[in-house]
């Protein structure tokens, strides 16, 4: 593969607090994370994957922020819990509330530590029950 690295657009001037909520749409399937990491590394030269984060009162408010989370299920955590994983950082990228979770390496153990920092899948509170996606609870 040739040189593909583009500049990752980083928002400057604001530091999100450890109490801020973090949501990733979907069930945090290991393969989805692996492909997301590989794409981010190939395109931007950064080993990371996308989440949304903001200082909002609840997960529903975070899922409603534009663009709304389309997934029927989501996994949640906090900024502090992610920063607690050794070597992991959170970069404010693209337009808020988008963030990139940056990993120190793509070792399976590291990826699983990051996944374990999230809750088990739960229903997206902004989606109706008729939109499918299983009952949640098990990744």
């Amino acid at each position: 593969m040739g040189v593909l690295v583009k500049k990752l657009p980083i928002r400057m001037g604001y530091e999100i607090t450890n109490d801020a909520l973090v949501v990733r749409g979907g069930r945090l399937h290991l393969l989805d994370i692996a492909l997301a990491l590989e794409k981010c590394r190939s395109v931007y030269g950064v080993l990371g994957f996308s989440v949304r984060a903001a200082e909002v009162p609840d997960v529903a408010a975070l899922c409603r922020l534009d663009p709304p989370v389309p997934h029927p299920e989501i996994c949640r955590t906090t900024v502090g819990q992610l920063r607690g994983v050794p070597g992991v950082n959170l970069l404010p990228t693209f337009a808020a509330p988008h963030y990139t979770v940056v990993l120190p390496d793509s070792d399976r153990m590291t990826v699983e530590l990051v996944i374990d920092a999230f809750s088990p899948p739960e229903r997206n509170p902004t989606r109706s029950r008729s939109t499918g996606g299983g009952s949640g609870g098990v990744r």
Binding site: G25, H29, E112
Partner: protein
């Protein structure tokens, strides 16, 4: 961890008539568009600007899209999020 290490699935395994032609991350959508890599396009699927492409992920989420740009190995698509659907994948677990 390489994608080969954990990859055993294919878009072709999705149930129903709508099958994934390329993997995308629906968390990485900006102004209705996202990117993927040519290597994440299913074998035999040719991509060119203007081509409709069914994109999805390993959770079983699917969405119609149209290829809007090709830049080396990067494939950009515009998503029609009105068509976003999720196939029940209650059996899906992290490998």
């Amino acid at each position: 961890m390489s994608t080969e290490e954990v990859s055993t699935a294919s878009g072709r395994e999705e149930g129903g008539s709508r099958m994934r032609e390329a993997w995308v991350d629906f968390n990485d959508v900006h102004d209705g568009r996202t990117t993927t890599l040519r290597k994440f396009v299913e074998t035999g699927v040719e991509v060119y600007v203007g081509r409709p492409l069914m994109v999805g992920d390993y959770d079983g989420n699917l969405c119609h899209s149209t290829v809007t740009d090709l830049d080396g190995d990067i494939v950009e698509v515009a998503l029609d999020l009105e068509t976003f659907t999720s196939v029940s994948r209650a059996h899906a677990v992290n490998a």
